[in-house]
Symmetry: C2
Subunit: 144 residues, 2 copies
């Protein structure tokens, strides 16, 4: 999907959820989209400052939080970062694989394995919330 199409679909998606993809939020999403993998809040902040002169942390954090809440981004806690979710319109649980060597990131669907984890947790009386999983390891090209 190209960038323009992604953005307009994202906008529709937010509308369906009763939220507005404002100019600022759109701009932040676009910036994150410009990175191949995980990007940090302060990197986005720096980019935003280049584009509009001034910007403070809360501005970018609010936009990022909004995008996460609307499913357009995943927050990668282990890395203090954010990554675009390519398939925000179908409900899913992502499996985010982070390469410890190159820092690259792959996203898989984890609905199946998540069910197994949910079962194991339910046996202990714990109700697992919908969420993404982050695993570290080594990606294909770094295994050489």
């Amino acid at each position: 999907m190209d960038k323009t199409a992604f953005l307009s679909q994202a906008e529709q998606h937010c509308l369906r959820l009763g939220n507005r993809l404002t100019a600022l939020r759109r701009q932040v999403l676009e910036l994150v989209l410009g990175y191949p993998g995980v990007v940090k809040a302060y990197q986005v902040l720096a980019d935003l400052q280049k584009e509009r002169g001034v910007a403070a942390p809360p501005t970018v954090y609010r936009a990022l939080d909004f995008l996460v809440e609307n499913g357009l981004l995943h927050r990668v806690e282990a890395l203090n970062g954010f990554i675009v979710c390519e398939h925000f319109d179908c409900p899913h649980e992502g499996l985010i694989l982070v390469c410890a060597r190159c820092g690259g990131v792959t996203e898989l669907d984890a609905t199946g394995p998540m069910a197994a984890l949910r079962d194991a947790s339910a046996a202990a009386g714990f109700a697992v919330a919908p969420q993404n999983l982050v695993l570290t390891g080594t990606c294909q090209s770094c295994q050489a």
Copy 2:
């Protein structure tokens, strides 16, 4: 296992790995042990300052890192915290369940479900490293 026994077993465990559980490291481990669940680095730092007057962040971070490397603690990244590993002497992959309501933490063995995740990842050419999994949700007593 009581505290004293745990500490002396921990010491033996480190020795087997060729490392030393020094007085400082032991003291930090003891402090973490004093908490029922997850504890933050700066909380440990504050405790350490109470006990020995002065202490700087690197002191406690170095000790915590050492304890994690030797399997005595788990790092809970989603919470910026640390938690004691009760069974450091048998190799395992932990499943750490964090209650979003009360902050309580439970640790389960996740060797089975982890294998499923590893398979799914291997299909994408990604080699998952041994690690613990952190999931958020709601614990039994908070589900009422």
